[in-house]
């Protein structure tokens, strides 16, 4: 029997499209969002100021051994600034600790006033702070981080949110509405509706290969979609 290829291919295209059509529409829509909004905007680079680089007066800082004696189990010590003042930052197994670099005195965790001031220093916008909360439970949007963290929300449609370390005042992460939409689009794109991270999940694998077959048969159909000899139009 002779195979009628145009018919077979067309039927395959149609039925596969019935299976994965909705997901293909979702892929093209979420894909378009992800390419159209620049990733540096999504990352929120425009929301935060890069820390100022300035030279330290090294004759005016206490030796690192003072810090290491006060914070045993430290794996790394860094000289940095907090509100413009030099501080030693010790990375311990229990998290970072700060010491006044001029006196060697340990610095207590930042209070709310300091956190608010620090957030305003980092934030590039003019909007006021809506809320500042010390979180003991990590929200899903920053699930890679450890509590406790300060969450400072700013006013505006974009809801810029900065996450600061309570012990060092460092900016840990930033989020805003466009990021949240991106994250949602990413979830739909990789079809991992729980964790939004697993790009190898079986559902995605089945859907992608089905979609490939559907799209490939569609491309195949193009051979017959443009008849070479046009019938003359009747006057």
């Amino acid at each position: 029997m002779k195979v009628r290829w145009p018919l077979v291919v067309r039927r395959t295209h149609k039925w596969l499209a019935l299976l994965v059509g909705v997901q293909v529409v979702i892929w093209t829509m979420t894909g378009f969002y992800m390419v159209a909004v620049h990733i540096s905007i999504i990352h929120g680079d425009h929301l935060v100021r890069a820390p100022k680089v300035a030279a330290f007066d090294l004759d005016d800082v206490v030796p690192v051994s003072r810090v290491l004696a006060a914070a045993p189990g430290t794996s790394e010590v860094r000289l940095q600034r907090l509100f413009g003042e030099p501080v030693w930052r010790a990375q311990t197994a229990e998290g970072p600790r700060l010491f006044d670099a001029r006196t060697g005195r340990p610095l207590p965790p930042l209070d709310e006033t300091q956190i608010r001031a620090q957030a305003q220093r980092i934030f590039t916008g003019e909007a006021p702070i809506v809320s500042a909360r010390l979180l003991t439970e990590i929200p899903p949007e920053i699930k890679a981080y450890e509590p406790p963290l300060w969450q400072v929300e700013f006013d505006g449609w974009n809801r810029p949110t900065l996450y600061l370390s309570p012990t060092t005042g460092e900016l840990m992460s930033r989020r805003h509405q466009l990021w949240r939409i991106f994250d949602f689009a990413w979830m739909l794109h990789i079809m991992d509706y729980d964790e939004r991270t697993d790009v190898n999940n079986p559902l995605l694998r089945v859907a992608t290969w089905t979609a490939l077959a559907m799209i490939a048969t569609g491309a195949w159909l193009l051979i017959w979609a443009f008849p070479r000899r046009r019938r003359k139009k009747k006057a």
């Binding site: 019935l18 093209t28 090294l58 290491l68 000289l79 790009v199 190898n200 992608t208």
Partner: protein, 240 residues
């Protein structure tokens, strides 16, 4: 002038013509997406190692920071371990300088040091160590000169160690290389493989929206009741 009629024919035409123009990329997106979903992300890797198992520093025995011959303004100081050796990392406008933290002597990351650092992440024998003046495609996420240490293992792993700081940057293997080729096809940035926000991809993505949108509409026009007869027949068969 002919009036445009919103008929299935119009949608079919858009579907056909957009398919003709952008169909190749649509197929490539589906193919590269399928392959990336299939490649095990654990094997692809691409995540830098965590700093979890860095050893604790001794409490004493360090040269004074001010005594180090930085030769320029110091904008940052870090005391850390390189292997088992404590070192100072000084940031200056002229670049990063390393010093032996015990003696204060300047330190350079030579081939032997780079091999030692890389070997901490891979037990396989080293076949080659090369100094690259800048990032290549595999180490593109990191600026500055790097040591590339090749290993004789199944994945043909290459470790990248910063020649400036001595930090272990990343391990790249054949699974990653395969993945990266398809990622390039997916993001259409054929030179640098990093950007997915360039005009070409935005343009093509906008076009494919039309293919999928019209296609979705045509689904409702392409099926007739007759297409589902087999379903009803089976149901009737089950009942009797």
């Amino acid at each position: 002038m002919k009036r445009i009629r919103f008929s299935p024919l119009l949608f079919r035409r858009i579907h056909k013509w957009m398919g003709l123009i952008l169909g190749i990329q649509f197929v490539i997106w589906a193919l590269s997406g399928s392959v990336m979903a299939l490649l095990d992300m654990e094997k692809v890797g691409g995540h830098s190692p965590s700093a979890a198992d860095t050893p604790a520093l001794d409490a004493t025995g360090y040269a004074a920071v001010a005594s180090l011959a930085s030769g320029a303004d110091v904008t940052g100081v870090t005391l850390r371990s390189l292997g088992s050796q404590p070192i100072y990392e000084l940031h200056t406008p002229a670049g990063v300088r390393l010093f032996d933290a015990a003696t204060g002597a300047p330190l350079a990351i030579d081939a032997a040091a780079a091999r030692r650092i890389a070997a901490q992440a891979n037990d396989a024998p080293v076949t080659r160590a090369r100094l690259l003046p800048g990032p290549n495609l595999e180490s593109r996420d990191f600026a500055g000169p790097v040591w590339r240490i090749d290993f004789a293992d199944e994945e043909n792993n290459s470790a990248y160690v910063s020649a400036e700081t001595g930090r272990f940057l990343i391990m790249r293997g054949d699974t990653w290389r395969t993945w990266d080729f398809f990622w390039m096809l997916h993001n259409m940035d054929y030179l640098n493989r990093t950007s997915f926000n360039h005009p070409l991809i935005v343009f093509v993505a906008f076009g494919t929206l039309w293919i999928s949108g019209t296609g979705f509409y045509l689904l409702f026009k392409s099926f007739s009741r007759a297409d589902f007869r087999w379903l009803r027949r089976r149901r009737r068969g089950a009942r009797s």
